[in-house]
């Protein structure tokens, strides 16, 4: 069943945490809410879960309106950042809890718990208390507990942020594989763009209580629409432009060629560091500027170069050279090319 969210508004006193948020999550997809802390992503997740009541708006799962349904009757599974495993119950008891709440028979519960423990490869740890499990194991139990009652939606609230880097990477793959296998619609909140890009079918970038941009990871990276998204999803050079009378943007005294079209109000263009070309001095053509190298940082597989166009010495363009490229030296005269296909109009 598809999840549909329409015009959700949530205020905490004078603060508007969610400002009319709408989005659609097709059945079986893995969605990430991505944004800095305070952007409203966790509040949106909690509203969907029913742990917060929205001031306005509507949440539908399939044809069913869930806006006024109490959290416990929504049949959603949640995994919290802090695991929230009940400390007084063993791993098996934790997993059984949701099934007991639904009045399953004892043999059915035992069977399901065993299957779940096998699924997360913790069958040997069934009778351990949470305190006797490692962080990664606890989070796997929390995951099993959430999906055991066969929820119609799985909500993950920064489930990996409390774990160390290696375990985090393992669990990323594990969660994603599990989600694909069960085909369960999943929403995950994260502030880690790498996590979002590597796991999600659909990324919702949020900022200031609004959805900034939504799309596939590759689209968000390649074609950000705003400076916020551009900066949040990796690094991007921001170029200030003026719009000439013919409608073309002008940078460093030279009109630029674009693949897309600029608006009269356009002030900023963006280009990824790896898309900028570094050419020998004297090169000419569309979008090519004579420039001077300001900084060179060698990082092994890549080399970061900063160069300033001679006609706009205050602008520093970050350029990434891959492989064993012959890097220029600081102060070298070069030319930089901004390929039209890689230039993005940002708002």
């Amino acid at each position: 069943m598809d999840l549909s969210i329409r015009g959700i508004v949530k205020r905490f006193g004078p603060l508007t945490a969610l400002d009319s948020v709408s989005l659609d999550v097709p059945h079986g997809t893995f969605v990430c809410f991505l944004g800095p802390s305070g952007c409203g992503k966790t509040t949106l997740l909690r509203v969907i879960a029913g742990l917060e009541l929205a001031d306005a708006g509507e949440i539908r799962l399939g044809e069913r309106d869930l806006s006024r349904t109490p959290a416990r009757d929504r049949n959603f599974g949640v995994v919290f950042q802090s695991y929230s495993l009940f400390p007084n119950m063993s791993a098996a008891k934790n997993i059984a809890y949701g099934l007991e709440c639904r009045g399953w028979s004892k043999p059915a519960i035992a069977e399901r718990v065993e299957a779940m423990l096998k699924l997360i490869q913790l069958a040997d740890h069934a009778h351990k208390l949470p305190a006797q499990l490692s962080g990664g194991q606890q989070q796997r139990v929390a995951l099993a507990r959430a999906i055991a009652p066969d929820p119609s939606l799985l909500l993950l609230d920064e489930p990996l942020s409390a774990l160390d880097a290696k375990v985090r990477e393992e669990l990323r793959t594990e969660i994603r594989a599990l989600q694909r296998r069960l085909g369960i619609t999943t929403i995950m909140v994260t502030h880690d763009q790498e996590e979002a890009m590597s796991m999600a079918d659909l990324v919702i970038v949020m900022n200031g209580g609004r959805i900034e941009q939504a799309g596939r990871p590759v689209d968000l990276y390649a074609a950000p629409q705003t400076t916020f998204v551009a900066n949040f999803m990796g690094r991007m050079n921001l170029i200030s432009v003026n719009i000439a009378a013919d409608g073309r943007p002008v940078f460093a005294g030279m009109p630029l060629t674009l693949a897309g079209t600029a608006q009269a109000t356009t002030r900023t263009l963006g280009i990824r560091p790896e898309a900028v070309w570094l050419l020998p001095a004297g090169a000419e053509g569309d979008n090519i500027f004579p420039a001077t190298v300001r900084e060179v940082v060698f990082l092994g597989n890549i080399t970061r170069v900063a160069a300033s166009p001679d006609a706009a010495p205050d602008t520093r363009l970050a350029i990434e050279l891959h492989g064993a490229a012959t890097a220029p030296a600081i102060g070298d005269a070069v030319a930089v090319a901004l390929p039209a296909a890689a230039l993005r109009v940002l708002t």
Binding site: E63, T69, P70, L85, F86, N88, Y97, R102
Partner: protein
């Protein structure tokens, strides 16, 4: 879209009649209704009675009371006595806590327990012990050739000082326990001498603790009733006057006026203390490092001497009571005997059993009501949560005597359908529950806060009802705290005198009241035996519960508060 369009699906319960909201309102009512009946009603009764004179509603009682010169003598007596006692107790407790926290005093753990000993007995034990030490027939006057007259102002001051000591000590040792070692190191590195370091670093860091200790002690002392009764002689204070007006002369209106007068400093002190307590927390940051005490011979010897001196004073006042309970007839016949433990006085051992029963029942009822109140305030969001939490901490600003008087006024009235409770143990138990309600509520709330709301949310999302979450998750997690609250209730109910004094009749006599009545009659040895029994029961209960907690692996539960 309504559920009717989907015949296969049951409609999700919504609105008031969803089971969780219903349970929420039910629990709120279970907490709120008794609170209205047994806290708000008695306090209103006091205000009402203070305004109701022979000539109808008005300020007549107040003008009558305020017009009498005797009243102003009592006010001056009460205030001067309380100020002197407070200053004394805070100075001694500060030194004692400072010595234990900032110098190397041997047997620190032992001296901490000694400081808390007065909590294990009714406050008037201090007066009892003081009389046995320096009274007319006391050790000093009788055997050592002194000629001290302890009855009156100084007797009340000293016995109240000792009674308030553990309260001040608990606050001050908490304030002195936290210290930012970096501040001391920099002060030392800058060449400050110890006295200057104390004046510029220690004192500013603990001034909130000092203020809080002052307010708590002052409130305790000005509302204490047992000590001036036993050792006051002709020296009368407001607290004893309420008793005389109500019990002696049945002047309920005038008693109520003085009750209102006593309510003022207590309530004011509470408000200021709360303000102060809020500021205390910001002193220590995550970067602070603990202060390490290095040995320094001169300082350590001096503080050890001070701690031992105060400790011995506390012990000797209590020890002399224990001794007196075992001798035939103090001070004339000092042969050892167990005859005072035969309790061949009126009611026999009944008051002790009554006390144990009342305290045990208060512990159970108190844990249920105050614990439930904390749970309702934190977990059930209704429009009543705000007023409820305010009411829950209201009793901390009400002196026990005033609340007890309120119970007489409210439940002795024929118009009150609850007046069947009057004269029964039930009402005494309920009084104990609400008299100690705020601390029990705060202890439970703190514990719930430490657990946080995430277990509740996890449980809810797994489909559990509120009552299931409560039974399966919340209660199993906080039971050690609730046990601690039970002990607190038991201890306070065993030793409390001023709250229950108005509700006692011969068939509901409790041990603390027996001590007062026997002392009043001059039955010194029997009174001492009753006091010793109270202390023994309290210590036994503490030891038992500590054993249970240690056996179940809960070491960090505070039992003595």
């Amino acid at each position: 879209m309504t559920a009717a369009a989907h015949p296969g699906e049951a409609p999700a319960p919504t609105g008031f009649f969803s089971s969780d909201r219903f349970a929420g309102y039910l629990l709120t009512a279970a907490v709120l209704l008794p609170m209205l009946a047994f806290l708000v009603l008695p306090l209103s009764a006091i205000l009402l009675y203070s305004l109701r004179g022979p000539g109808g509603i008005g300020l007549e009682n107040f003008t009558h009371t305020f017009g009498a010169p005797r009243f102003w003598t009592l006010v001056v007596n009460s205030v001067v006595m309380s100020v002197v006692s407070t200053v004394g107790t805070v100075v001694l407790a500060y030194g004692y806590a400072y010595g234990l926290a900032r110098a190397k005093v041997p047997f620190t753990g032992l001296w901490r327990i000694v400081a808390l000993l007065p909590l294990f007995a009714p406050s008037l034990v201090q007066a009892q012990g003081l009389i046995l030490l320096v009274g007319r027939n006391g050790v000093f006057n009788r055997f050592l050739g002194f000629d001290i007259d302890i009855y009156g102002f100084w007797g009340v001051v000293i016995s109240n000082l000792l009674a308030a000591f553990p309260y001040a000590f608990l606050i001050l040792s908490a304030a002195l326990a936290v210290a930012d070692g970096r501040l001391y190191e920099s002060a030392e590195a800058l060449g400050a001498r110890p006295l200057r370091i104390f004046r510029t670093v220690t004192l500013p860091a603990t001034r909130y603790g000092i203020a809080a200790a002052c307010f708590v002690s002052f409130t305790l002392v000005i509302t204490d009733f047992g000590n001036p009764m036993v050792i006051g002689g002709d020296f009368n204070v407001l607290a004893t006057e309420v008793y005389n007006q109500v019990i002696g002369q049945a002047q309920f209106g005038l008693g109520a006026v003085i009750g209102v007068v006593l309510l003022l400093p207590a309530a004011l002190g509470k408000i200021i203390e709360k303000r102060i307590a809020r500021k205390q927390h910001a002193l220590i940051t995550a970067q602070s490092k603990p202060l390490v005490i290095r040995p320094a011979l001169g300082r350590d010897v001096a503080w050890s001497a001070f701690v031992v001196a105060v400790g011995v004073l506390i012990i000797s006042v209590l020890a002399i009571v224990i001794v007196a309970s075992f001798v035939r007839l103090w001070p004339y016949n000092m042969t050892l005997t167990l005859r005072h433990y035969e309790f061949d006085v009126q009611n026999g051992t009944a008051p002790i059993w009554n006390s144990i029963f009342v305290s045990f029942a208060s512990a159970i009822a108190g844990v249920a009501l105050a614990g439930l109140c904390a749970i309702v305030v934190q977990k059930v969001r209704t429009p009543l949560s705000g007023p409820l939490s305010l009411m829950a901490i209201l009793p901390s600003a009400v002196p026990g005597m005033v609340l007890g008087l309120g119970y007489v006024l409210a439940f002795n009235a024929a118009a009150n359908p609850l007046n069947v409770l009057y004269g029964s143990f039930a009402l005494i138990i309920i009084l104990n529950v609400y008299y100690n309600h705020s601390q029990a509520f705060l202890i439970t709330s703190t514990s719930l806060n430490q657990i946080g709301g995430s277990f509740d949310e996890a449980s809810t999302m797994l489909g559990a009802s509120m009552t299931r979450t409560l039974g399966k998750i919340t209660l199993p997690l906080i039971w050690p705290t609730l046990l601690g609250v039970g002990v607190f209730y038991f201890m306070r109910s065993m030793v409390s005198l001023s709250a229950v004094i108005f509700l006692i009749n011969p068939s509901t006599q409790v041990a603390a009241v027996s001590v007062l009545q026997l002392s009043d009659r001059g039955a010194v040895n029997q009174a001492a035996a009753f006091s010793v029994c109270i202390m023994a029961v309290v210590v036994g209960c503490l030891a038992l519960v500590r054993l249970v907690l240690v056996a179940t692996g809960h070491r960090n539960i505070t039992l003595i508060r």
